[in-house]
Symmetry: C2
Subunit: 519 residues, 2 copies
């Protein structure tokens, strides 16, 4: 069979499975079970609390769990030298043929929700270990209260605080304009924005009052948060018309039930489907987890916290309707979002390609963050790259060419580490060849799949006796079923939807097509 024919048949089978709901469900369950089954399930015996198993290590979730116990790796090259593996040669970005910038935009917003290493204390986390949209709702009940409007007035029940800018609804500003004073004294309980250096007042004036310390990171993360804020308030307003007897508290809580699950649906059915190399769509069928052996309490790991540093996905500059923005101007600055509005911001993200994830492709402006990743792995004493290949059911690399087919990357690894067994976790992960039809390298793809499925589908809102109309209302349950993609939510929440499809996958991408674009 020719490659061309095989690719066509492969695609046809995917379409068939997609169209046949029952088979799609069975196939999803099989894929998810196989992915999660590639390694040991939770509870993990170790955490960053101690080098051995103990009660506090097994229960104190302000530490991070670990897939493998700590070791001292024998070769630790200077991070400045490791930069040779990450830096774009001649500053030239390799551009992805599959992903748009909506992919890194969503990845960052998603992972900032549950992967939050404490700065300067990389063995600790502020994570709730759940996909709970704490970026929108706050990390604690006290933060949630500060972000809520709290009104028993009809039409204003159950809302999050917001600010109208013409027809555009945004989160409130964190600071009173032109000052460093909070715009609302209740915001004192919020986590301060995480920034590397003091910001000029003009940038401070654009920051939003939101649930996380990181959702102001870029206009992309702020745009995601704005989208779900609008969706929350839209849903709350509709619930009030359906249930005029409900008080502020109940409208808020039920709207939150719905929005968190809409978000998880998008995680699986939009985001993960973009990541997988499979030509059929996985479905967020909660029942897959109800009787699964891997359904155990979530606990983010040191490895998961580190492997999600996908800075290479960012191009050197972001194309924006107001003109290209260099990366440095895109950090902790919501001015670009405010200038063009939500639909134009999503359209900008979806209409430009992301860069490829992998070695020799990190923008110069972000190289210092790669240094931190290398050091974070050492502080947490992560086992070498090959140990993780074995732990996740792969053969260890016996030669540098088994990590990367690119001779320059293999030579850099050889130069840095000398022996494939000495390659460190993070550099090895990023140096690997990307999997055909996926934006991710092989071990990274496998590790993401394990932690994503085994921690998204265990959400209590998806559990067997909660996943029903009583929890979400019949209207909300139907809305959940009808929502799969970011574009579904955007269309409900902007005055005018533009022509750009809101997709993480580029329009001309074809799975398995040898004539088409490749990752």
């Amino acid at each position: 069979m020719s490659d061309w024919l095989e690719a066509r048949l492969f695609r046809a089978a995917g379409n068939l499975i997609d169209g046949w709901a029952w088979l799609s469900g069975e196939a999803s369950a099989a894929v998810i079970g196989k992915a999660v089954g590639s390694t040991r399930n939770r509870p993990h015996p170790w955490s960053s609390f101690s080098d051995y198993t103990c009660w506090q290590g097994l229960t104190d979730r302000s530490y991070l769990a670990r897939h493998l116990p700590p070791v001292d790796v024998p070769v630790q090259p200077d991070p400045e030298r490791v930069r040779a593996l990450f830096a774009r040669p001649d500053g030239e970005a390799q551009i992805s043929r599959k992903s748009t910038c909506l992919f890194p935009a969503f990845a960052q917003y998603l992972t900032d929700g549950f992967l939050r290493t404490v700065p300067g204390q990389v063995d600790r986390t502020t994570s709730n270990h759940e996909i709970d949209l704490c970026t929108l709702y706050g990390r604690t009940p006290a933060q949630t209260r500060a972000l809520r409007l709290k009104s028993e007035e009809a039409g204003r029940r159950g809302l999050l605080k917001s600010r109208m800018d013409g027809a555009e609804e945004f989160p409130p500003f964190l600071y009173a304009t032109g000052t460093k004073a909070l715009s609302d004294p209740e915001f004192a309980i919020l986590d301060a924005p995480l920034v590397d250096e003091a910001l000029p007042q003009a940038q401070l004036d654009t920051l939003f009052a939101i649930g996380g310390d990181r959702a102001n990171s870029t206009p992309f993360t702020a745009m995601m948060n704005t989208l779900f804020l609008r969706e929350h308030n839209r849903i709350a307003r509709h619930l009030q018309t359906l249930h005029p007897d409900w008080n502020d508290e109940r409208v808020f809580q039920v709207a939150r039930n719905i929005v968190i699950v809409l978000f998880i649906k998008i995680v699986v059915e939009h985001y993960i489907n973009h990541i997988t190399p499979m030509p059929f769509s996985l479905r967020a069928d909660p029942s897959v987890a109800w009787h699964a052996e891997w359904n155990r309490p979530n606990w983010m790991t040191v490895e998961f916290s580190l492997l999600y540093r996908w800075h290479a996905l960012m191009p050197d500059a972001i194309a924006w309707p107001t003109g290209d923005i260099p990366l440095r101007g895109f950090i902790a600055n919501n001015a670009p979002l405010l200038a063009v509005g939500l639909d134009a911001a999503f359209s900008a993200a979806a209409s430009q390609p992301a860069a490829k994830l992998g070695a020799r492709n990190t923008a110069a402006a972000l190289l210092h963050i790669e240094d931190r990743a290398v050091l974070q792995a050492r502080t947490n004493r992560l086992a070498p790259y090959n140990a993780y290949r074995v732990a996740f059911g792969m053969e260890p690399a016996r030669d540098f060419s088994e990590i990367s087919s690119n001779p320059q990357i293999a030579a850099t690894l050889q130069d840095l580490y000398g022996d494939p067994d000495h390659v460190e976790f993070y550099p090895g992960l990023m140096a690997e060849d990307r999997v055909k039809d996926s934006p991710l390298p092989g071990l990274l793809l496998r590790m993401v799949a394990v932690d994503a499925f085994s921690q998204a589908l265990t959400n209590p809102l998806l559990s067997e006796h909660v996943w029903n109309e009583a929890t979400f209302t019949p209207w909300g349950f139907d809305l959940i079923k009808r929502t799969s993609k970011l574009g579904d939510v955007l269309a409900r929440n902007v005055p005018h939807r533009g022509p750009t499809p809101v997709e993480m996958t580029q329009a001309d991408w074809r799975y398995g097509d040898p004539d088409g674009p490749v990752a």
Copy 2:
């Protein structure tokens, strides 16, 4: 077949199963699976946070989960009238033919570890929702630090603070003798002892500095805590000889791993085996839970917190080597324990019968606590008794005689509630006939089995990748395997073990023997 012959065969089968380890394991798994499978598994959709399902209700474990949603029961008799159901007629206790007082002693110490309703706020709990011996080790890491000796000196690593009284080791006193000042400033972080009224100085002088607010409740609970304190320090001292290179922290943590699991083994193999009406012994085989569908995160329920109020088990006075002690003198007073020492205290508990659990059998001194239980159910808006029978797979009672075969109890229920469907949860639970060969009534036995098995065997120390010699050391793992009963631990920790067997079951008890004593 005659009842006599059937009983003999039943007993013989039990002995056979006990002697045949493989069958015993299979039978244990079947019994546990059947028990837990009688009702819906976790996560529960409801908690005491709200009347409907919501994110904070599903995640904030300072509230209690619920098996059934809240309702307003139609008939709420004055608690003073409900006392007719609980009070001992003519003050005469019905004495158990199966249980010794070691049974209520252990039950109280065990449940104070994870069922801790906040006084005056009965929808809230301070529980960690695990069997973690927090009574011994403290409820928080800061409390644990206050209770530890913290010494790097050889021979003193990994110990809990203690005080020698001749050859007897006890927890330190909480207060400096004759004062209300703490004996150690670090004890300020401990939870204050939970007492109904101010105690005389002589009693304050006897209270121990311990992990919980309730382990000073009676000399029985203090004796349990003393036993496990001695076992911890004994194990820590031995670990130091095996691992002279371990520091204070590691010796402490590994000793704690071992002691928590010794405790859980005793919960299943001593305590639960006393409760079950089955003639064969259940084994604490952790693998039963590894692949079980009911293995979901623990969360104590409002119902579980209430059904464990077993005050009827207490006789009117406690026989003690120094003379009978009326119940009022047995509360928040460790003087009787200090006077006779640990072995004599255990012997006293094990050599006197408990009272029967059930209606018309609460000591006068404890009747006011039954009032609180009735009110606690109403504050938490528990569904009526019959709703719980249905939720746990039983037929609803259609007649008062289906609750109790005792005409006086049935008549009292009729007088209080008029209709079997109106009987409240707590009175109904306690009014039922006891199950043949068990100290517990039927619905109570079933509800205890569900929550006990599904929350004890999910302990992270028993989980698939933790339950091994690396966690406990080979010596500790062997010690765990060799320990099944309180007497095993006591024999290792007293200067002189007396002749009284340390048993919860009376020596002349025979299962299913119609000629023998009955519960």
